[in-house]
Amino acid sequence: MLAYTIRRVLMLIPVLIGMSLITFSIIHLIPGNPAQTILGEQATPQAIEQLEEQLGLNEPYFVQYGEYMMSLLQGDLGQSLRTNADITNEMWPFLAATIELTLFAMIFAVVVGVNAGIISAWKQNSIFDYTSMLIALIGVSMPIFWLGLMQQWIFAQELGWFPAFGRGNPRDPVETVTYFYLVDTLLAGRPDQFFTSLGHLVLPGVALGTIPMAIIARMTRSSMLEVLRSDYIRTVEAKGIHHLSVVYRHGFKNAVIPVLTVVGLQTGTLLGGAILTETIFSWPGIGRYVYEAIGTRDYPVIQSGILVIAFMFVMINLIVDLLYSYIDPRIKY
């Protein structure tokens, strides 16, 4: 197990280097003169020269990359061109907002998806099975930005059940410590604000979680169908153990591996989809941070934002891989 963990972590190194090369190269791949593109048509030659100096664009490519990697390893993501602030410091509140949102979306996706999948497999070919698989099929095909807009219209504007924008009540802010509003409101001893923040999470979280939920439901169903047909399930059933226990304890335990893989891969969908969801719901997350940087051609922010999101994705898949052998001791590497 330890040997595998070490090997798996070592395997990450080339991927991480490749990722950093790609994000590093973003600025170099801009057609024409990058500094000119960033500053626009009317930029003076002095301004261009100054920016080239600031970004180190005059040095040889690999020298620049070496310096970029050195700062990265020290946790320094460079400075934003727009605000001149350190991106590492500036990014945290956005990152926390995104983590809070994606966690909520993932919990929603797993809880709903897994249960719908299990029940569909258990009651195969029932009305429930057909309906939930049809919903899952539609869920996979739905543009999440459209789903978000529709939710805003129906549940926020028409019904007024949930707020449509932002993370909390801006007129009564709670002291931010961790920038996870659910945590901060509790730390401040404000349960009312906790529920306000939770309410703000519902619409963006559900919109973001719908595609993973659909995919997880489909995967759980097919994985469960296979398991429920096996001999040991028949044995357990013959012993007269309660249905729920058969399905959830004995069945799902053995169907969980493919589901876990999908969950890991779907965090990519979540982190990518966060850009769209955050745009719609004015959620101050890292997706919007990057998106706004594209509008202002703030390339250091674009590079760092993309790198950080991709890094999180890789780490989550590492955790999922390591979980396999923990959950299923038969898996030996």
Binding site: P14, I22, W146, M150, L271, I275, F313
Partner: protein
Amino acid sequence: METVRPDKQTPIPSPEQEAHTVPAPASPWKEAFRQLRRNKLAVVGMFIISFFILIAVFAPLLTPHQVSTMNAADRLQGPSADYWFGTDDLGRDIFTRIVYGARISLMVGFFAVTGALIFGSMLGILAGYFGRWVDMLISRVFDIMLAFPSILLAIAIVAILGPSLQNALIAIAIINIPIFGRLVRSKVISIREEEYIMAAKAQGMKSGRILVHHVLPNSMAPIIVQATLGFGTAILEAAALGFLGLGAQPPTPEWGRMLSDARQYITSAPWTVLFPGLSIMLVVLGFNMIGDGLRDALDPKMKH
């Protein structure tokens, strides 16, 4: 086409055996098509896609208005006999724009998938057939590309190239290359060990000919399935880029772009948001239904 046998367990019949098997088994493709027709969801999917192809082809004949003609007097009109899906904030007929948008979405899907398919297959075949350092290099590049959430990589590419429909299309093709590449590679690796490849080699067939005549046709089934599903994903991704303002630029009637232009009118004129979104969903749903059906029909082993 005779070389195609999705079921690789079946031994290749020798000439004498073949002479005795009467009647000759139907071609696996015909068999797959028969199964596909039995799959209700797949048939519905084919109807949906045929419908959208038809409206895309005959767009000028079907549309009562001009695609970009603005009419300030008729802005944000609800659905009516004159404007079936209502009008947008510039008084343009939404039905007309949706019909023309079908052209754009199908075109984006087609070119993005074709591009990704061609480059992905080439790289996958190189990696799988030649192995060793070629495989190492190509597979690592695929790993790295897949380490990015796909839409994020597309956004990065558009941030480099600049926002336009063409660049969005290029970006979507690029992000889909590793998906096809990996698939083809794994298929090639499993086929490489087959006896008929060895036989071809023993007969002195050159690598190139073996690839074209044996390896490629035998990897077709999963590629076709992935291409069909990829169509839907590509259309979704293009709409997402359009929605973020990184794809099609106004006045192009691209569905994603239409959604983002209309979002501020969602309360006063919900039809401006409803119909473009429904169209995206229907097309993608159609491709997903066909893709699922094809998967079940072509290769039962791929179900999971």
